[in-house]
């Protein structure tokens, strides 16, 4: 059923009685051409683009819980393409372009909202690093602006310009950055994929792999074995656990990242702001909650919850940056399990097991990648060659030394 002005109007008059399930709650079939494991944004986008761009329709997305129950449903929704390194930047810019056409492509309002992102800098060295990044963005066709202190003040006069421990000197702005409504992205892809015939199978946990020799030919699940021509993993924080079932050890650790939302408020923060002298980033949802986060907790965890030191660190940074939020209240905090790769950049590649493909290593930044990740993973699954913008995301780059280390902290996931 298409969403249109008319359909909304009609249902208004008929007591909202005409709506149909946004996607079918499919039962698994015995075999598919392609199985995508993981019903987060990436898995669903992959399925959608496999169907819409590559004409493959016999696809299942297997999700152990309900779709969007992983990181897609718990992230701070920031989208941007302000990356630095050549391996990354064109890919994220491609993602940005896909965001820009997403609502029309999906016939779903995912509230992609380009209200801008501003990364603050507090020293000359940081300014130059942002200039380097802003220039790299321009080289990739993205927009970027380097603002001075007054430029920042004009945007956000309520930041602490007068008494800061680390004075704000300026910021790198990407006006096309912003946020998208996280759950709606999941639902929109699911609905659009479903309409192209994709089976979305919830409450179906992959527990092992069907093999023929070295090759992967399907999966064992909590709802029985399912065969497949190809299997693609898009299980984010669970990557190591699932890959381990195929005998693979990944360059990955799972860490917890917390996020926070305040009570609802009248508009205060228009776009996204990131603090450059601590770990803190903030935006305001359309409902009015300030959505913010900071650093990962810094230890391996699958617990989907974090601890107070990071909560305090985030609040300290928030208060240092915008000291008028002291009387606002934190409403809820939660955690997600991050697939922290060893250089902080993702992997979209074949694996040593024929028939098994991997999409992971998104760290705390994969929401913005959702469209392009799905696009590139679909391309790889359909053609067995990497998409042009994702060629650097190789699994063997750690062996060859072609790392994509934006932060320059090396093989230490908790520092990325």
């Amino acid at each position: 059923m298409r969403y249109s002005f008319l359909s909304v109007l009609k249902n208004g008059f008929t007591g909202q009685s005409g709506w149909k399930p946004a996607w079918r709650d499919a039962a698994p079939k015995p075999a598919y051409d392609v199985i995508i494991v993981g019903g987060g944004g990436h898995g669903l986008a992959t399925a959608f683009y496999l169907a819409s761009e590559h004409g493959i329709r016999n696809i299942a997305v297997l999700e152990k819980g309900h779709i969007g129950s992983g990181n897609a449903g718990r992230n701070t929704t920031i989208i941007r393409s302000n990356y630095l390194l050549p391996g990354n930047e064109p890919f994220y810019e491609w993602s940005m372009k896909l965001w820009e056409g997403l609502e029309q492509a999906l016939n779903y309002n995912a509230m992609v909202s380009q209200r801008g992102i501003l990364n603050l800098y507090h020293s000359d060295a940081q300014r130059d690093a942002y200039a380097r990044r802003g220039n790299a963005m321009r080289l990739a066709g993205a927009d970027s602006e380097l603002l001075d202190r007054e430029g920042v003040r004009a945007m956000y006069p309520f930041l602490d310009f007068d008494n800061a421990r680390f004075p704000i000197q300026g910021g790198l702005a990407q006006r096309r950055g912003g946020t998208a409504r996280h759950d709606a992205v999941v639902w929109g892809y699911a609905r659009a994929a479903d309409q192209l015939g994709v089976d979305i199978v919830q409450n179906c946990e992959v527990t092992g792999f069907l093999t023929e020799g070295d090759a992967i030919v399907g999966v064992e699940t909590s709802r029985g074995p399912i065969r497949a021509g190809k299997v693609g993993l898009a299980v984010a924080g669970s990557s190591s656990r699932v890959a381990q079932q195929a005998g693979l050890r990944l360059p990955m650790e799972s860490h917890v990242l917390q996020a926070f939302v305040s009570e609802g408020l009248k508009p205060l923060v228009d776009g996204v702001i990131t603090f450059g002298a601590g770990h803190f980033y903030i935006s305001q949802s359309d409902k009015g909650g300030l959505v913010f986060g900071g650093d990962i907790d810094g230890y391996n965890s699958y617990a989907q919850r974090g601890n107070l030191p990071v909560v305090e660190d985030v609040a300290e940074s928030g208060m240092a940056l915008m000291p008028r939020i002291g009387r606002l209240r934190l409403l809820r905090m939660w955690g997600g399990i991050m697939d922290m790769s060893m250089d902080g950049s993702p992997i979209i590649d074949r694996t040593p097991r024929p028939g098994l493909y991997l999409n992971s290593g998104w760290c705390y930044g994969g929401f913005k990648a959702t469209p392009a990740s799905g696009w590139c993973f679909a391309h790889l699954l359909a053609t067995d060659t990497p998409h042009a913008t994702g060629t650097a995301f190789k699994l063997d780059r750690f062996r060859t030394g072609h790392l994509i280390d934006e932060k320059g902290v090396g093989a230490q996931p908790n520092l990325h």
């Binding site: 190591s240 656990r241 617990a303 601890n307 060893m342 750690f398 230490q412 908790n414």
Partner: protein, 87 residues
């Protein structure tokens, strides 16, 4: 999270720096397969959901590396010992 430092007693995890998997051993750089072995040592991780042996450095306390047995699903800590034995 409070880490039971064998020397200092239980302290908040924020006093420690985390390094991760403590089951890894630095390979012999002279071995013929040193490239492979170092790749595995530096990059590959079991990353288990459950019991995990891991390095924490008590940077704000005794400055000892502490090997902590912790469950990554519950964060429960089963024990901790100092690296390298007593000095």
């Amino acid at each position: 999270m409070r880490i039971p430092c064998p020397y200092c007693g239980a302290r908040d995890a924020s006093e420690f720096a985390y390094l991760g998997d403590a089951t890894l051993t630095r390979p012999d750089p002279a071995a013929p397969d040193a490239d492979e072995a170092f790749h595995a040592y530096v990059y590959l991780r079991d990353n288990p959901a459950g019991a995990h042996s891991e390095w924490w450095y008590h940077s704000a306390g005794c400055r000892r590396w502490v090997k902590v047995a912790r469950d990554t699903t519950s964060h429960a800590i089963a024990g901790a010992e100092l690296a390298g034995g007593a000095r």
